[in-house]
Protein backbone atom coordinates (compact mmCIF):
# COMPACT_ATOMS: atom_id res chain seq x y z
CA UNK A 1 0.00 0.00 0.00
CA UNK A 2 1.63 3.16 -1.18
CA UNK A 3 -0.47 5.71 0.58
CA UNK A 4 0.63 7.12 3.86
CA UNK A 5 -1.06 4.79 6.24
CA UNK A 6 0.24 4.98 9.73
CA UNK A 7 -0.14 1.70 11.51
CA UNK A 8 -1.15 2.99 14.84
CA UNK A 9 -0.34 0.28 17.26
CA UNK A 10 -0.60 2.76 20.05
CA UNK A 11 -4.23 3.04 19.13
CA UNK A 12 -4.75 -0.46 20.35
CA UNK A 13 -4.76 1.11 23.77
CA UNK A 14 -7.57 3.39 22.71
CA UNK A 15 -9.47 0.85 20.70
CA UNK A 16 -12.85 -0.21 21.90
CA UNK A 17 -13.16 -3.49 23.72
CA UNK A 18 -13.76 -6.53 21.58
CA UNK A 19 -17.28 -6.80 22.87
CA UNK A 20 -18.08 -3.25 21.87
CA UNK A 21 -20.56 -3.07 19.00
CA UNK A 22 -18.52 -1.71 16.15
CA UNK A 23 -20.69 -2.33 13.17
CA UNK A 24 -24.35 -1.80 13.25
CA UNK A 25 -25.53 -2.05 9.71
CA UNK A 26 -22.66 -3.69 7.91
CA UNK A 27 -20.99 -6.79 9.11
CA UNK A 28 -17.61 -6.20 10.74
CA UNK A 29 -16.35 -9.36 9.05
CA UNK A 30 -15.45 -7.46 5.87
CA UNK A 31 -13.06 -5.14 7.68
CA UNK A 32 -9.61 -5.82 9.06
CA UNK A 33 -10.33 -5.02 12.65
CA UNK A 34 -7.01 -6.39 13.86
CA UNK A 35 -5.02 -3.62 12.22
CA UNK A 36 -6.65 -0.22 12.61
CA UNK A 37 -4.90 2.56 10.73
CA UNK A 38 -4.76 6.33 10.75
CA UNK A 39 -5.12 8.37 7.59
CA UNK A 40 -4.90 12.10 7.12
CA UNK A 41 -6.56 13.89 4.28
CA UNK A 42 -8.84 16.63 3.01
CA UNK A 43 -12.59 16.24 2.93
CA UNK A 44 -14.06 16.36 -0.57
CA UNK A 45 -17.63 15.56 0.41
CA UNK A 46 -19.75 14.40 3.27
CA UNK A 47 -23.03 12.52 3.11
CA UNK A 48 -25.06 12.99 6.29
CA UNK A 49 -27.33 10.10 5.46
CA UNK A 50 -28.92 6.92 6.76
CA UNK A 51 -28.09 4.22 7.38
CA UNK A 52 -24.53 5.53 7.61
CA UNK A 53 -22.66 8.80 7.34
CA UNK A 54 -19.97 8.84 4.64
CA UNK A 55 -16.95 11.10 4.52
CA UNK A 56 -14.96 11.22 1.29
CA UNK A 57 -11.33 11.97 1.96
CA UNK A 58 -8.56 12.90 -0.49
CA UNK A 59 -5.37 11.26 0.77
CA UNK A 60 -1.95 11.90 -0.72
CA UNK A 61 0.05 8.83 -1.69
CA UNK A 62 3.84 8.49 -1.66
CA UNK A 63 4.07 9.43 -5.33
CA UNK A 64 2.36 12.76 -4.87
CA UNK A 65 -0.90 11.54 -6.25
CA UNK A 66 -4.24 11.73 -4.51
CA UNK A 67 -6.51 8.82 -3.73
CA UNK A 68 -10.12 9.20 -2.72
CA UNK A 69 -11.19 7.14 0.26
CA UNK A 70 -14.69 6.52 1.52
CA UNK A 71 -14.83 6.66 5.30
CA UNK A 72 -17.95 5.20 6.79
CA UNK A 73 -19.29 6.25 10.17
CA UNK A 74 -22.32 5.03 12.03
CA UNK A 75 -25.86 6.31 11.51
CA UNK A 76 -26.64 9.98 12.20
CA UNK A 77 -28.75 9.13 15.25
CA UNK A 78 -25.87 7.37 17.02
CA UNK A 79 -23.29 9.95 15.93
CA UNK A 80 -25.44 12.75 17.33
CA UNK A 81 -25.41 10.86 20.63
CA UNK A 82 -21.61 10.99 20.42
CA UNK A 83 -21.68 14.77 19.98
CA UNK A 84 -21.47 15.00 16.20
CA UNK A 85 -23.06 17.86 14.27
CA UNK A 86 -23.83 17.72 10.58
CA UNK A 87 -22.01 21.01 10.03
CA UNK A 88 -18.80 20.06 11.83
CA UNK A 89 -17.25 18.48 8.72
CA UNK A 90 -17.16 20.41 5.46
CA UNK A 91 -15.45 20.05 2.11
CA UNK A 92 -11.89 21.35 2.37
CA UNK A 93 -11.47 20.45 6.04
CA UNK A 94 -8.38 18.56 7.17
CA UNK A 95 -9.20 15.36 9.00
CA UNK A 96 -7.36 12.52 10.68
CA UNK A 97 -9.35 9.31 10.72
CA UNK A 98 -8.73 6.12 12.63
CA UNK A 99 -10.46 3.06 11.30
CA UNK A 100 -10.47 -0.43 9.81
CA UNK A 101 -9.82 -1.10 6.13
CA UNK A 102 -11.95 -3.27 3.88
CA UNK A 103 -10.48 -6.75 3.38
CA UNK A 104 -11.27 -6.48 -0.33
CA UNK A 105 -8.59 -3.82 -0.74
CA UNK A 106 -11.07 -1.23 -1.94
CA UNK A 107 -10.55 2.28 -0.64
CA UNK A 108 -13.12 1.96 2.06
CA UNK A 109 -12.57 2.50 5.75
CA UNK A 110 -14.86 1.91 8.67
CA UNK A 111 -14.44 4.76 11.11
CA UNK A 112 -13.49 4.17 14.73
CA UNK A 113 -12.70 7.76 15.62
CA UNK A 114 -11.74 11.03 13.96
CA UNK A 115 -9.88 14.17 14.88
CA UNK A 116 -10.85 17.55 13.46
CA UNK A 117 -8.28 20.18 12.45
CA UNK A 118 -8.93 21.99 15.74
CA UNK A 119 -7.93 18.88 17.67
CA UNK A 120 -11.43 17.84 18.70
CA UNK A 121 -11.82 14.06 18.72
CA UNK A 122 -15.07 12.22 18.06
CA UNK A 123 -16.11 8.61 18.34
CA UNK A 124 -17.05 7.16 14.95
CA UNK A 125 -19.62 4.77 16.29
CA UNK A 126 -21.41 6.74 18.93
CA UNK A 127 -21.94 4.29 21.72
CA UNK A 128 -20.39 6.33 24.51
Amino acid sequence: MKIRLVFAWILVLNCPAVSRPLFAHHSSSSYDMEHPVIMKGVVSNMEWTNPHVFIYLDVKDDNGGVEQWRVEGNSPNMLVRAGWKKEMIKAGDQLAVNGALAKSGSKVMRLISLTLANGQKFDGQGFK
Binding site: A24, Y31, N50, S75
Partner: protein, 257 residues
Amino acid sequence: MGRVLNNFDLAWKLGAWPTVRNHSILSAFLAALALPLVIFAQTAQRPEAAKTRAVSAVPDFSGVWFIDEYHRNLLPKEDPPFQPWAEAKFKELQSEKLHQDPDDGPDPTERCIPPGIPRTMLQPFPWEIVQARDRVIMIFEYQSLIRQIFTDGRGHPKDLEPTYMGNAIGKFEGDTLVIDTIGFNDKTWLDPMGLPHSDAMHVVERIRRVDHDTLVDEYTIDDPKAYTKSWTTQRTFKLKPEWQIQEYVCSENNKVK
Protein backbone atom coordinates in the same frame (compact mmCIF):
# COMPACT_ATOMS: atom_id res chain seq x y z
CA MET B 1 -61.93 30.00 30.49
CA GLY B 2 -60.68 33.46 31.22
CA ARG B 3 -63.31 34.97 28.92
CA VAL B 4 -66.11 33.07 30.66
CA LEU B 5 -64.94 34.34 34.01
CA ASN B 6 -64.84 37.85 32.62
CA ASN B 7 -68.47 37.50 31.61
CA PHE B 8 -69.31 36.39 35.11
CA ASP B 9 -67.36 39.36 36.44
CA LEU B 10 -69.29 41.59 34.10
CA ALA B 11 -72.56 40.09 35.33
CA TRP B 12 -71.47 40.74 38.88
CA LYS B 13 -70.54 44.34 38.12
CA LEU B 14 -73.84 44.90 36.38
CA GLY B 15 -75.56 43.67 39.48
CA ALA B 16 -76.99 40.64 37.77
CA TRP B 17 -76.31 38.18 40.63
CA PRO B 18 -77.77 40.27 43.47
CA THR B 19 -80.93 40.80 41.45
CA VAL B 20 -81.60 37.07 41.20
CA ARG B 21 -84.31 36.65 43.75
CA ASN B 22 -85.30 33.07 43.19
CA HIS B 23 -82.41 31.25 44.83
CA SER B 24 -83.98 27.85 44.27
CA ILE B 25 -83.85 28.42 40.53
CA LEU B 26 -80.21 29.47 40.80
CA SER B 27 -79.40 26.42 42.89
CA ALA B 28 -81.10 24.11 40.43
CA PHE B 29 -79.24 25.80 37.59
CA LEU B 30 -75.87 25.39 39.28
CA ALA B 31 -76.69 21.80 40.22
CA ALA B 32 -77.60 21.05 36.64
CA LEU B 33 -74.28 22.50 35.55
CA ALA B 34 -72.36 20.50 38.12
CA LEU B 35 -74.16 17.19 37.59
CA PRO B 36 -72.42 16.15 34.37
CA LEU B 37 -69.09 16.97 35.98
CA VAL B 38 -69.89 14.68 38.90
CA ILE B 39 -70.99 11.90 36.57
CA PHE B 40 -67.90 12.37 34.43
CA ALA B 41 -65.68 12.30 37.47
CA GLN B 42 -67.25 9.08 38.67
CA THR B 43 -67.08 7.32 35.33
CA ALA B 44 -63.54 8.56 34.72
CA GLN B 45 -62.32 7.47 38.11
CA ARG B 46 -63.20 3.82 37.78
CA PRO B 47 -61.02 2.82 34.81
CA GLU B 48 -58.23 5.06 36.05
CA ALA B 49 -58.24 3.36 39.42
CA ALA B 50 -58.38 -0.04 37.76
CA LYS B 51 -55.50 0.89 35.49
CA THR B 52 -53.42 2.08 38.42
CA ARG B 53 -54.01 -1.19 40.22
CA ALA B 54 -53.20 -3.21 37.11
CA VAL B 55 -49.96 -1.35 36.42
CA SER B 56 -48.81 -1.45 40.00
CA ALA B 57 -49.35 -5.20 40.09
CA VAL B 58 -46.73 -5.91 37.43
CA PRO B 59 -43.10 -4.88 37.14
CA ASP B 60 -42.43 -1.68 35.26
CA PHE B 61 -39.83 -2.12 32.51
CA SER B 62 -40.64 1.12 30.70
CA GLY B 63 -37.66 3.09 29.46
CA VAL B 64 -35.00 3.16 26.76
CA TRP B 65 -32.67 0.14 26.86
CA PHE B 66 -29.39 -0.57 25.11
CA ILE B 67 -27.39 -3.77 24.74
CA ASP B 68 -24.67 -3.89 27.38
CA GLU B 69 -22.14 -6.20 25.75
CA TYR B 70 -22.31 -6.94 22.06
CA HIS B 71 -21.28 -10.34 20.78
CA ARG B 72 -21.43 -11.48 17.18
CA ASN B 73 -22.12 -14.99 18.43
CA LEU B 74 -25.43 -15.53 20.16
CA LEU B 75 -23.67 -18.36 21.98
CA PRO B 76 -20.17 -16.89 22.53
CA LYS B 77 -18.47 -20.04 23.83
CA GLU B 78 -20.00 -22.92 21.88
CA ASP B 79 -22.05 -23.94 18.90
CA PRO B 80 -25.74 -24.64 19.40
CA PRO B 81 -26.91 -28.25 18.77
CA PHE B 82 -27.30 -27.96 15.00
CA GLN B 83 -29.33 -30.20 12.75
CA PRO B 84 -27.00 -31.23 9.88
CA TRP B 85 -28.44 -28.83 7.28
CA ALA B 86 -28.27 -25.93 9.73
CA GLU B 87 -24.63 -26.65 10.55
CA ALA B 88 -23.74 -26.91 6.85
CA LYS B 89 -25.48 -23.63 6.11
CA PHE B 90 -23.78 -21.93 9.02
CA LYS B 91 -20.31 -23.17 8.03
CA GLU B 92 -20.85 -22.09 4.46
CA LEU B 93 -21.49 -18.56 5.71
CA GLN B 94 -18.14 -18.48 7.48
CA SER B 95 -16.22 -18.65 4.19
CA GLU B 96 -13.71 -15.80 3.95
CA LYS B 97 -14.71 -15.28 0.34
CA LEU B 98 -18.07 -13.97 1.51
CA HIS B 99 -16.49 -11.46 3.86
CA GLN B 100 -14.23 -9.29 1.75
CA ASP B 101 -16.36 -6.49 0.36
CA PRO B 102 -18.24 -4.28 2.86
CA ASP B 103 -20.72 -3.49 0.09
CA ASP B 104 -21.59 -7.09 -0.70
CA GLY B 105 -21.90 -9.31 2.34
CA PRO B 106 -24.34 -12.15 2.98
CA ASP B 107 -26.05 -10.65 6.04
CA PRO B 108 -29.75 -10.01 5.24
CA THR B 109 -29.84 -6.93 7.47
CA GLU B 110 -27.34 -5.20 5.18
CA ARG B 111 -30.13 -5.10 2.63
CA CYS B 112 -32.59 -3.71 5.14
CA ILE B 113 -34.24 -7.02 5.98
CA PRO B 114 -35.47 -6.92 9.59
CA PRO B 115 -33.21 -8.86 11.98
CA GLY B 116 -36.03 -10.90 13.51
CA ILE B 117 -36.09 -12.11 17.10
CA PRO B 118 -33.94 -12.14 19.14
CA ARG B 119 -31.48 -10.24 16.94
CA THR B 120 -33.51 -7.03 16.69
CA MET B 121 -33.10 -6.59 20.45
CA LEU B 122 -29.36 -7.29 20.27
CA GLN B 123 -28.43 -4.73 17.62
CA PRO B 124 -26.27 -1.85 18.84
CA PHE B 125 -29.21 0.54 18.78
CA PRO B 126 -31.53 1.39 21.64
CA TRP B 127 -35.12 0.25 22.01
CA GLU B 128 -37.87 1.40 24.29
CA ILE B 129 -40.40 -0.52 26.33
CA VAL B 130 -43.84 1.05 26.64
CA GLN B 131 -46.31 -0.80 28.84
CA ALA B 132 -50.00 -0.53 28.07
CA ARG B 133 -52.90 -2.17 29.88
CA ASP B 134 -53.09 -5.09 27.47
CA ARG B 135 -49.65 -5.27 25.91
CA VAL B 136 -45.98 -4.48 26.17
CA ILE B 137 -44.67 -2.54 23.19
CA MET B 138 -41.04 -2.51 22.11
CA ILE B 139 -40.07 0.39 19.87
CA PHE B 140 -36.77 -0.35 18.13
CA GLU B 141 -34.61 2.43 16.75
CA TYR B 142 -32.94 0.04 14.32
CA GLN B 143 -35.09 0.01 11.18
CA SER B 144 -37.89 1.71 13.18
CA LEU B 145 -39.39 -1.67 14.02
CA ILE B 146 -42.14 -2.34 16.54
CA ARG B 147 -42.87 -5.48 18.52
CA GLN B 148 -46.14 -6.02 20.36
CA ILE B 149 -46.39 -8.55 23.19
CA PHE B 150 -50.00 -9.07 24.19
CA THR B 151 -50.42 -9.58 27.93
CA ASP B 152 -54.22 -9.71 28.14
CA GLY B 153 -54.39 -13.48 28.33
CA ARG B 154 -55.04 -14.19 24.69
CA GLY B 155 -53.37 -17.16 23.00
CA HIS B 156 -51.60 -17.31 19.68
CA PRO B 157 -53.93 -17.16 16.67
CA LYS B 158 -54.56 -20.58 15.14
CA ASP B 159 -53.73 -19.67 11.57
CA LEU B 160 -50.54 -17.64 11.67
CA GLU B 161 -48.83 -16.42 8.56
CA PRO B 162 -45.06 -16.20 8.99
CA THR B 163 -43.58 -12.81 9.86
CA TYR B 164 -40.20 -11.33 10.84
CA MET B 165 -41.27 -10.46 14.38
CA GLY B 166 -43.54 -13.44 14.90
CA ASN B 167 -46.59 -13.41 17.13
CA ALA B 168 -45.80 -12.65 20.76
CA ILE B 169 -47.90 -13.16 23.86
CA GLY B 170 -46.70 -12.55 27.39
CA LYS B 171 -47.54 -12.97 31.04
CA PHE B 172 -46.07 -11.59 34.21
CA GLU B 173 -44.70 -14.08 36.72
CA GLY B 174 -43.68 -12.09 39.78
CA ASP B 175 -40.85 -9.81 38.72
CA THR B 176 -40.51 -11.50 35.32
CA LEU B 177 -42.20 -10.98 31.97
CA VAL B 178 -42.40 -14.29 30.12
CA ILE B 179 -42.77 -13.87 26.35
CA ASP B 180 -43.79 -16.66 24.03
CA THR B 181 -43.23 -16.02 20.32
CA ILE B 182 -44.04 -18.19 17.31
CA GLY B 183 -45.06 -17.54 13.72
CA PHE B 184 -41.66 -16.58 12.35
CA ASN B 185 -40.52 -16.76 8.75
CA ASP B 186 -37.12 -18.30 8.04
CA LYS B 187 -35.56 -15.27 6.37
CA THR B 188 -33.51 -13.97 9.29
CA TRP B 189 -30.35 -14.92 11.14
CA LEU B 190 -30.31 -15.36 14.89
CA ASP B 191 -27.02 -13.47 15.14
CA PRO B 192 -24.54 -11.59 12.90
CA MET B 193 -22.56 -14.82 12.36
CA GLY B 194 -25.50 -16.35 10.53
CA LEU B 195 -27.07 -18.85 12.94
CA PRO B 196 -30.03 -20.14 10.95
CA HIS B 197 -33.53 -20.98 12.10
CA SER B 198 -36.66 -22.37 10.54
CA ASP B 199 -40.30 -21.33 10.46
CA ALA B 200 -40.88 -23.77 13.31
CA MET B 201 -38.89 -21.63 15.73
CA HIS B 202 -40.44 -21.00 19.12
CA VAL B 203 -38.73 -18.41 21.33
CA VAL B 204 -39.43 -18.13 25.04
CA GLU B 205 -38.02 -15.11 26.85
CA ARG B 206 -37.81 -14.31 30.52
CA ILE B 207 -37.21 -10.60 31.09
CA ARG B 208 -36.52 -9.22 34.52
CA ARG B 209 -34.90 -6.20 36.07
CA VAL B 210 -31.93 -7.22 38.17
CA ASP B 211 -31.41 -3.65 39.35
CA HIS B 212 -32.88 -0.28 38.41
CA ASP B 213 -30.57 0.23 35.44
CA THR B 214 -30.22 -3.38 34.29
CA LEU B 215 -32.57 -5.64 32.39
CA VAL B 216 -31.79 -9.28 31.66
CA ASP B 217 -33.51 -11.28 28.93
CA GLU B 218 -33.04 -15.04 28.89
CA TYR B 219 -33.80 -16.48 25.47
CA THR B 220 -34.69 -20.12 24.91
CA ILE B 221 -34.59 -21.13 21.25
CA ASP B 222 -36.73 -24.15 20.46
CA ASP B 223 -36.55 -25.02 16.78
CA PRO B 224 -36.61 -28.78 16.13
CA LYS B 225 -36.15 -28.30 12.39
CA ALA B 226 -32.83 -26.48 12.88
CA TYR B 227 -31.57 -27.72 16.28
CA THR B 228 -31.66 -31.14 17.91
CA LYS B 229 -32.71 -29.69 21.26
CA SER B 230 -33.66 -26.32 22.68
CA TRP B 231 -30.90 -24.06 23.93
CA THR B 232 -30.68 -20.94 26.05
CA THR B 233 -28.67 -17.75 26.11
CA GLN B 234 -29.11 -14.40 27.77
CA ARG B 235 -28.31 -10.74 27.22
CA THR B 236 -28.12 -7.72 29.49
CA PHE B 237 -29.47 -4.27 28.64
CA LYS B 238 -28.74 -0.97 30.34
CA LEU B 239 -31.23 1.81 30.97
CA LYS B 240 -30.48 5.02 29.06
CA PRO B 241 -32.59 7.67 30.81
CA GLU B 242 -31.14 10.52 28.70
CA TRP B 243 -31.84 8.85 25.36
CA GLN B 244 -34.89 9.02 23.13
CA ILE B 245 -35.62 6.72 20.23
CA GLN B 246 -34.49 8.47 17.07
CA GLU B 247 -35.20 8.14 13.39
CA TYR B 248 -33.40 5.45 11.41
CA VAL B 249 -33.83 4.92 7.68
CA CYS B 250 -32.16 1.85 6.24
CA SER B 251 -32.67 2.42 2.54
CA GLU B 252 -31.72 6.07 2.04
CA ASN B 253 -28.04 5.73 1.15
CA ASN B 254 -27.35 2.05 1.53
CA LYS B 255 -24.20 1.15 -0.40
CA VAL B 256 -24.76 -2.60 -0.22
CA LYS B 257 -25.34 -4.06 -3.67
